[in-house]
């Protein structure tokens, strides 16, 4: 595996001047490509995507999943077992949608992991903090919930001066 170190002065983490503590993140020093490759294609990666598919019933970007999964594997020492437990609960309930089994996940580590996975997919970030790890911007699911009318900031919405149109209804949420 290729290993590299972020060069001084250019690391994204240094963009996050807001008191970002690097402690705990040293595992991820270096470009994404390097640290995700070890996780890519492993059984755990596949299991993580399976878990994600149960928790979020939308199209999930493979690349974003790789980033979130690789991070989760570092963050949760027992990721493997936890995934087994959550998947078992879903299977027990015969669930194909998150609503059918989420409440059955016991409070505590399992529930925390499950919700962290959901939050990571929707926000594209490891937390709401200024020093959070970013997994994806373009594929963060929050934007998908409103993409019929709201742009992902920094990506153009329409041709020049063509954006004024009737407001979209609040519901239903577009399929994504």
């Amino acid at each position: 595996m290729q290993t590299r170190h972020s060069s001084p002065g250019v690391s994204r983490r240094q963009l996050l001047i807001g008191g970002a503590s690097l402690l705990g993140y040293f595992t991820f020093a270096g470009p994404t490509f390097a640290w995700t490759q070890a996780f890519k294609g492993t059984p755990l990666h596949q299991r993580f995507m399976q878990l994600s598919g149960l928790l979020i019933n939308h199209h999930l970007d493979e690349g974003a999943g790789l980033r979130i999964g690789a991070f989760a594997a570092q963050k949760y020492a027992q990721l493997d077992q936890h995934i087994d437990s959550i998947v078992a609960i879903a299977e027990q309930q015969g669930a194909t949608e998150v609503e059918q089994f989420f409440d059955a996940i016991p409070e505590g580590e399992l529930r925390d992991l499950a919700y962290w996975v959901i939050a990571a997919w929707y926000s594209g970030s490891s937390s709401a903090d200024a020093d959070a790890e970013l997994f994806t911007y373009e594929h963060a699911l929050t934007f998908q919930t409103t993409l019929d009318i709201v742009p992902i900031p920094s990506f153009g919405l329409t041709g020049p001066n063509a954006w004024n149109r009737p407001p979209a209804p609040l519901l239903p949420v577009p399929r994504f």
Binding site: T32, F33, E133, T136, H139, G156, P160
Partner: protein, 481 residues
């Protein structure tokens, strides 16, 4: 529909008639309104202004400087100024320019002036053009600097031999076997709109190869693509109305005009009548289909490749500098410079204004010149239908969005070609761009043998002069920026 068409024609006439007040001051018998309007329309169809009006300059007053490796060519003043324009030309002298490429003083024109096409026009139309230029264009008494080229490029006489060999000065004749639309289309295409000047490949002596008509050719930094109706090599998949729309707007989901074609649409095609654009499409659709120039058997035309995709996983969340050093350098350059409009996965905006990049001719073509040239020079088109379309350049211009290096453009191009172009079963792009390729386009296009020939000297003077003319013709619009 008919009303719309009529209104288009009226709009075109109104546009063309802008200089008409001059008419009131002239008493020329032959300058009747109808002839004048016809002449104006033909001047638009012929896109005279593309070369003979400098940016920000007076209409048809020349002065546009066209850089060449052997010196600057200056487009001439063709207003009816008697001191500095063509005001003293008789109709016969005027016709000799268009039909034979010979000026009033007897000197031969370089074929930068596409008289080889204009020669096919009818006597009536050349008369109308004469009337328009004498009475519909405002005289501008301002000289243009003389074009001074070094020996042997200054041997205009060499063109005489070339004309003898390759130039057909006879007006086109109606083909009774074909429809009126086809005949009108052929007349426009072979005559005033001079499509073949760019789209037809040339032989050793820079003559157009008739058996390869419209099969695609390099035009300075741009590549005028195959526009024959071939299902693989050409535009056989385009519907008739799509071709008309393209000529009117320069824009389809699968193809957008840039470079010289954008200028031709801005100044010329968009102003033609619906009937004439339809006629052009009719003729183009009936051309002999010609397959890809590489002769390769394959499925799908250049508008059928690629799909939305990205490589964001390899750099998003890292720093930009890391992204540029990483595995997905081309993708990082794309994201930072292109994705804001063309979207992260190349899908374009939902309204289609910013084009999708997959299933787009620029990326599915067997020639990457247009891709590189678009990045280096940007896109600019202005039409009534679509407004002022502008993609910023990424070359060395003061307004370049980002002055990308040859390496960066090569990496970007290869990313685009891999994701949105034609790939083999292993996902390898069929066209690859190197930094040298980018440098070539940066310098104005692939290998004009001009410089070498000029060094060899007089022995190849004829070829050199013709080459220069050819080169200039192809370069002229690109050089205007």
């Amino acid at each position: 529909m008919m009303i719309r068409r009529l209104s288009r024609v009226m709009a075109a006439l109104a546009w063309l008639a802008a200089p008409l007040p001059l008419l009131a001051q002239t008493t020329a018998n032959d300058a009747d309104d109808e002839t004048l309007a016809r002449g104006a329309y033909l001047a638009t169809a012929s896109d005279c202004t593309a070369c003979h009006t400098a940016h920000g300059g007076e209409s048809m007053a020349g002065g546009l400087r066209i850089a060449s490796p052997v010196g600057e060519i200056v487009a001439t003043n063709i207003t009816p100024s008697t001191s500095h324009g063509i005001g003293n030309y008789s109709e016969e002298q005027f016709a000799r320019v268009l039909r034979h490429g010979i000026r009033a003083d007897g000197a031969n024109l370089y074929p930068a002036m596409p008289y080889t096409a204009y020669a096919r026009m009818s006597d009536e139309d050349i008369h109308a053009l004469y009337v328009y230029f004498m009475h519909g264009v405002a005289p501008v008494d301002v000289p243009t600097p003389p074009t001074k080229l070094p020996f042997p490029m200054n041997l205009r006489v060499a063109m005489k031999g070339w004309n003898l060999l390759f130039h057909d000065a006879t007006p086109l004749e109606e083909d009774p076997e074909q429809s009126a639309a086809w005949n009108r289309g052929r007349y426009l295409v072979e005559g005033p709109t001079h499509c073949s000047s760019c789209h037809t490949p040339r032989g050793f002596m820079m003559q157009e190869l008739d058996d390869q008509a419209m099969a695609g050719a390099q035009v300075g930094p741009w590549y005028a693509p195959n526009i024959t109706p071939d299902d693989v090599g050409g535009i056989g998949s385009w519907r008739h109305d799509e071709l008309v729309t393209y000529l009117r707007t320069g824009k389809l989901d699968q193809a957008q005009a840039a470079g010289s074609m954008a200028e031709a649409i801005t100044h010329s095609f968009q102003h033609l009548s619906d009937d004439d654009l339809s006629a052009i499409a009719t003729y183009i659709e009936a051309l002999p289909p010609i397959g890809p120039s590489d002769g390769e058997e394959r499925q799908g035309d250049r508008f059928s490749h690629g799909r939305p995709s990205d490589e964001l996983v390899n750099f998003r969340g890292d720093s930009y500098a890391e992204g540029l050093e990483g595995e997905s350098r081309g993708a990082q350059i794309y994201s930072a410079n292109c994705a804001s409009c063309h979207q992260p996965d190349g899908r374009g905006t939902a309204d289609g204004y910013y084009p999708r990049l997959f299933e787009n001719g620029i990326l599915g073509d067997e020639n990457a010149s247009n891709l590189i040239a678009t990045i280096l020079y940007g896109v600019e088109r202005e039409t009534e239908a679509e407004g002022h379309v502008f993609m910023p350049p990424f070359g060395e211009q003061p307004n370049a969005f980002n002055a990308l290096s040859n390496d960066e453009i090569a990496d970007l191009s290869n990313y685009l070609l891999t994701h949105f172009g034609r790939v083999d079963e292993n996902g390898k792009a069929s066209v690859e761009v190197t930094a040298d390729d980018v440098q070539t386009i940066r310098e104005g296009g692939p290998g004009s043998p001009l410089i070498l020939l000029s060094r060899i000297g007089m022995g190849v003077g004829i070829v050199a002069v013709v080459l220069l003319g050819y080169w200039l013709l192809r370069r002229r619009r690109a050089a205007k920026r």
